[in-house]
Amino acid sequence: MTGLALLIPVALGLGLLGLAGFFWSIKNGQFDDADGAALRILIDEEDEL
């Protein structure tokens, strides 16, 4: 039983952390350009300089 007192808050806390992260990423526009983000990894920054 004592394990529950620790485990339940931990489980809820981690869940909330994920939820907060998701809200942040929506607000920050992380999902605005999904296709572009996939392509940006291919851009070779060094060549530009």
Binding site: M1, L12, F22, I26, G36, L39, R40, L42, I43, E48
Partner: protein
């Protein structure tokens, strides 16, 4: 640069958005972003690849043409996006996504606790878990339930009912009863069911909203026909770029050849011809002289002219058409979506069933508490969880498939209406035909002429030159080498090739009234006259016969003169009405409607706007006017007419799958409801039934992935 940066006042720099349809790869992103910042006056550029847009942050003194010029300089064709296409519509999808995330979080955590309860937790532990569930569920219901509560409330206030009414009642009663159970240490609490229900329903709503947003973004990237502004003559013979919204009467616009007018006006200087096809459907260019009245949205073909603005923005001649369109579209808003029609039958049935089970158990001698529990179980089991997903899941899958095939569907109701049409009415210019001049006798030119033609045509942005360029490039002709190129507005392009003077321009002889033509002259050789006509879209005949096999008869309603419509009608073998004003097109549709037909309108011009809005469903090509694209339910890319048939076929398959989904969802309910009424349903069974039926419905919808083939 450093000095400028440090001295910069803390003001917001202006940001302009451009649509770049030609953006295809990672290289384009880096070329645009790193290329643009190197230009003087541009501070930052950020590409959104998904929307095919670039946002440019620039110094206030940069004008629209300068910015466009900067992007063109890097090698991309850009279109300024007017600010009217705002993003505030995007908020709905975002709000639903947040509500869905909260419901999803709550669902997972409550389920975690519920599983322990189902597997035998009892006494204090069960009470503790119920309390924890309540703690998570209550704020979730308040937050995530809002979209349903507010929609149900507004429907009830109007004396109607929709899908959200049974949902709201079910959610509220179930939450209240579960709270009561928790207080009284009861064995069953339905918090998991409530939250799961919200989660699945919000998923459906969100998919619906995403679909609408994506199509709207796609369409707004195409809006370009009315020029977003004009170069205006300022006092002291200076010029400035003025946005279309800020144009005022009596300003003088400088309209270059190949530019579209941003406002109505009167020509005060210059002689040219104007392409009115977008406005009236007429293919023959109209010549204008000083004193001629010209309208917004028409295209200046030959030479730069000065136009004094007589009416701008809402006062233009287009306003009439806009008014007609608004009236016509009211009929469409009366359409009731399939899901709501189902809800009209479903909601009363569900409520009666729940009330009857309550009464039945009361009469049978069970206590009010037990009867209420059973009534709630009936509500939960019958709550239209899978029904809420049945329609949007199928529609978003098909909209995605169509989008990959270059067909944008504005919203779900468009698909539903498209599936029911039984008569197609086509505009001619720009719809059955390409709506742009295509050279017809290039095969008669010899190799040297073709090479020089292509080189000269590339040097000009005149619509006729573009027609020549497109045709020759498709043919794979290599351009000849020319020097000393200069374009004389109204006359043509002049250059030298191998020391000989060459030119492409207005024919000397007066043959131009036979149709559009331009003349290639090479010094010392006979000249060659290129004739143009408005070619039929590829696969037009095949598409019409396919429509026939789908049970749709076709008609032409055109604003053009009978002589220009006749050849097209003859080639396609369908009847045509000609010289129709926008109002007459509306009347024609109204007559067919009265005769019991559901009319599909396919058109592109401004003059088709009202007809597109009035049709039971409507389709416009991507080359259509703003008004046409805004009024149409479906917009298709590319030259071929095939997407019209493809869209209808896909829409019908969607309706088929939607109907299957309804049957599956209701079938599940039919199995579970007797259990619920008998009082055997526990929260465990409710949860299993709910998620099971939702998954089946979504899986069935995924079968539509190849519907656009």
């Amino acid at each position: 640069m450093t000095a400028a940066t440090s001295n910069r006042a803390p003001v917001e720099l202006p940001v302009s958005d451009f649509a770049i349809p030609g953006m295809r790869c990672a290289g384009c992103i880096s070329k645009l972003e790193s290329g643009l910042v190197l230009r003087p006056g541009i501070v930052n550029a950020r590409v959104n690849f998904t929307a095919k847009r670039v946002s440019v942050t620039h110094l206030p003194e940069m004008t629209m043409p300068q910015l466009l010029e900067a992007i063109t300089g890097i090698g991309f064709e850009a279109v300024a996006i007017s600010e009217s296409s705002g993003d505030n519509d995007n908020h709905e999808a975002k709000r639903l996504l947040k509500a869905m995330a909260v419901a999803g979080f709550a669902m997972m955590n409550i389920m975690l606790l519920s599983v322990s309860v189902w597997s035998g937790a009892s006494g204090v532990t069960r009470d503790l878990f119920h309390w924890l569930s309540a703690l998570i569920a209550l704020p979730t219901v308040v937050y995530s339930g809002q979209p349903f509560f507010s929609s149900a409330w507004s429907a009830l206030r109007k004396g109607r009912t929709n899908m959200d009414v049974p949902i709201s009642i079910g959610v509220t009663i179930t939450t209240a009863l579960s709270l009561y159970e928790t207080f009284t240490h009861g064995p069953h609490a339905y918090f998991d069911g409530v939250v799961m229900l919200l989660f699945f329903l919000l998923t459906g709503r969100w998919l619906d909203a995403v679909m609408r947003d994506r199509a709207r973004d796609g369409v707004s990237a195409l809006l370009k026909q009315t020029s977003a502004g004009a170069m205006v003559l300022q006092p002291g013979s200076k010029t400035a770029w003025i946005d279309a919204k800020a144009l005022k009467p009596n300003m003088v616009m400088l309209v270059a050849a190949g530019e579209r007018l941003a406002a109505d006006g009167m020509v005060t200087e210059g002689v040219s011809s104007f392409d009115l096809s977008l406005l009236t459907g007429e293919t023959t260019a109209q010549s204008v002289v000083v004193g001629s009245i010209v309208h917004a949205g028409t295209l200046n073909l030959d030479a730069p002219v000065h136009v004094r603005v007589t009416a701008a923005g809402a006062d233009t001649a287009i306003a009439d058409i806009a008014r007609l369109m608004e009236q016509a579209s009211q009929g469409k808003s009366l359409y009731v979506r399939v899901a709501d029609r189902a809800a009209r039958l479903y909601a009363p049935a569900v409520h009666t069933l729940a009330a009857l089970s309550f009464l039945g158990w009361m009469v049978a001698g069970a206590g009010w508490h037990e009867s209420l529990l059973i009534a709630v179980a009936v509500l939960i089991i019958t709550c239209p969880c899978a029904l809420g997903l049945a329609v949007p899941a199928a529609q978003i899958v098909v909209a995605g498939a169509l989008m990959r095939a270059g067909i944008l569907v504005k919203d779900g109701s468009a698909l539903e209406r498209l599936a029911e049409v039984d008569l197609a009415m086509f505009d001619k210019t720009g719809t059955l035909t390409m709506g742009r001049p295509t050279p017809i006798n290039l095969a008669d030119a010899n190799g040297e002429q073709k090479a020089v033609l292509l080189a000269l045509a590339r040097a000009s942005r005149h619509p006729l030159s573009e027609g020549i360029r497109r045709a020759l490039e498709i043919e794979g002709v290599a351009a000849g080498k020319i020097d000393q190129v200069r374009e004389v507005a109204g006359a043509g392009v002049f250059a030298t090739a191998n020391g000989h003077a060459v030119s492409l321009g207005r024919p000397d002889t007066e043959i131009s009234h036979e149709g559009l033509a331009s003349e290639l002259q090479i010094q010392g050789k006979p000249s060659f006259v290129v004739h143009f006509s408005d070619e039929m879209r590829p696969h037009a005949a095949a598409t019409l016969s396919e429509l026939q096999s789908l049970g749709l008869a076709s008609l032409i309603i055109s604003g053009d003169r009978a002589e220009s419509v006749a050849p097209v009608a003859r080639a396609l073998g369908i009847t045509a009405q000609t010289s129709m004003l926008p109002q007459e097109k509306l009347n024609a549709i109204a007559r067919q409607k009265a005769a019991g037909h559901k009319v599909l309108m396919v058109g592109d011009g401004l003059n088709d706007g009202p007809a597109l809005a009035a049709g039971y469903a409507s389709i416009a090509p991507a080359s259509a006017s703003d008004a046409g694209q805004n009024a149409a339910d479906v917009v298709f890319m590319g030259d071929a007419l095939t997407p019209v048939a493809t869209a209808i076929r896909a829409a019908r398959r969607t309706q088929h799958i939607v109907r299957q989904n309804f049957i599956l969802a209701i079938g599940y309910n039919a199995l579970a409801v007797p259990l619920a009424i008998a009082g055997y349903v526990t929260p465990l069974i409710a949860a299993a039934a709910m998620s099971g039926s939702s998954l089946v419905v979504v899986a069935n919808a995924l079968r539509l992935k190849n519907a656009a083939k």
